[in-house]
Amino acid sequence: MPKPIIRIVNLTKKFGNLTAVDHLNLEIEEGEILGLLGPNGAGKTTTLLMLTTVLRPTEGTAFVGPYDVTQEPDKARTLVGMAFQDPKVLWVSTPWDILNWHAKVCGIPSNEREKRLRWVLEEVGLWNERRKSVHTFSGGMRKRIEVAKILVQRPKIAIIDEPTTQIDIVGKHRIWNMIRSLRDEGSTILLATNELYEADVLSDRVAIIHRGKLLVCDNPKKLKDSIPGGDVIEVVLGKDVSKKCLEEVERMNRVVDVLSTKPNHLKIYLNKAEEVLPQITEFFLKMRIPIKSVQMSEPTLDDVFAHYTGLTIEEAEKR
């Protein structure tokens, strides 16, 4: 059983009357990528800022490695590196200067620094622009510098806040691969995002957070399976189906509901569709009903979010 490298205990942050993070409890295991998923304003960034000791909790605490962030913030920061949501760069700087200073302050020796900087700048596609002032850069290019900082640092715990906003799809894949390779090199990744697909493809586990509270935390597959009838199989048959047949399908294990949209079209709501599908096809073959087509769709993390909050992420952001 992997041990937790981050332990969040009743973590709370209030700004006046606003409770941004509300008694959050969460453990992050060493070597995993944990996606912190939630709409804008859910409290993700505030949580991350408390873990990096930029903000002090109003109540509760968090342990980063063995260090309590409220008692030993200086030691906690030696284990953590953070890539911020908004690129933290001054317009007068160049990518090389920003990353070189960042590497220096993180204690990377000079002989290693240049090699690492070159590799990272090439990886993020900014090698040719390394001496240009960042004020000429697009939002996406600045974002890449922010992510590059963490790649240069290679911290024990990498905290990454919405790494691919403003980045095109090719760039997104590039950054996702880098995050994976960072994990493969030994870093634990805490990734805050409001992009469902990003959380799904990158995370070993996803913690869904809403209004500062943790709703649920598990691996994406289990989260999707936790929605009763979350999977949908749509079957188009060669002839109309009798009521008796429908009842037989409904009685199958893990099937939650069957809807007949047309006499030969069935929409079956179930769990673990991949396990039940062979049973369904076998049943229709036995009943001598030819199958014209089968379409299977899994729930998304948005469905999971909606299941726990009654809102889609988009709706939650609007509120």
Binding site: L49, V80, L90
Partner: protein
């Protein structure tokens, strides 16, 4: 435990922004020229020989040394403006997340801001030393005295940078900071010995001015440059005053970084 390496790396970042202020630098250099070549020379001619004698033989030399301290002060406070620019760009959060302690961060920034100010002023400082020594060729300049004075001036600039950081962190609006600094600037320079010695001030002003860090710095620089005069603050007291000033504002800067910035009220 403070890591000197970390302090230096933080200071280095502020030193690298040396050329960001080239316009301000040029303006300051022109201001310096006007003060020396116009104001200093004219006022020097107006003063009676006994007054000239009381300030070490030449009011012009006394004044030129004071102007350098005034310049050192006004360029050391630039770091406060940096803090606002960094806040606009979110760089403060970035700095607070780095693996350096708050002490190292504040100390490094104070030193960086102070050294940067020294770099700005050093050409003018050389001009002033030349003017003082050429107008008093008989005066004896001890290299040790000069070294001690320079060391104390370094501490003075670090202290002023710490003071500026403390103000910037306490006052959240850059406009208010600018106005407040303008007011402080007017008072702190005039209620010091940068322009005139304590003995010519009304006692209620002199009572305040004798504890002014600019008084300590100006008189110590004059002493280091060989301007011997009974009206100057004793070097030991001036050194003690500068060390106290530096310590006070470095401590306050650290305290405010921990209380105000980490508390989140900046946001």
């Amino acid at each position: 435990m403070i890591s000197l390496r970390n302090v230096w790396v933080v200071a280095e970042r502020d030193l690298r922004t040396f050329l960001n202020y080239k316009h301000v630098l040029i303006m300051r250099a022109l201001w310096f020229l006007a003060q020396i070549a116009l104001f200093g020379l004219v006022v020097n001619k107006m003063l009676r020989p006994d007054v000239q004698e009381a300030v070490g033989g030449s009011y012009f030399s006394f004044y030129a040394a004071g102007i350098i301290i005034s310049l050192l002060y006004s360029t050391s406070v630039f770091i406060g403006y940096d803090i606002y620019e960094e806040a606009d760009h979110g760089v403060i959060e970035y700095l607070l997340s780095l693996p350096v302690s708050r002490k190292e961060l504040v100390l490094g920034r104070s030193i960086g801001g102070g050294l940067r100010s020294f770099l700005y002023v050093s050409p003018m400082l050389m001009v002033v030393l030349y003017l003082i020594w050429s107008s008093n060729p008989q005066s004896f300049v001890s290299p040790l005295q000069l070294f001690i004075a320079f060391l104390a001036l370094f501490l003075f600039t670090f202290g002023v940078s710490g003071f500026s950081i403390t103000l910037a962190v306490s006052i959240k609006s850059s406009d208010k900071f600018d106005i407040f600094l303008g007011m402080i600037n007017a008072l702190i320079v005039r209620l010091s010995t940068t322009l005139y010695p304590l003995v010519y001030m009304p006692s209620y002003y002199a009572g305040i001015a004798q504890f002014n860090p600019l008084t300590f710095a100006a008189d110590l620089f004059r002493w280091g440059a060989g301007l011997e005069s009974a009206v100057l603050t004793a070097p030991a007291i001036a050194i003690f005053g500068i060390i106290s000033f530096f310590s006070l504002f470095t401590f306050l800067g650290i305290f405010l970084h921990e209380r105000v910035l980490e508390g989140g009220s900046w946001q």
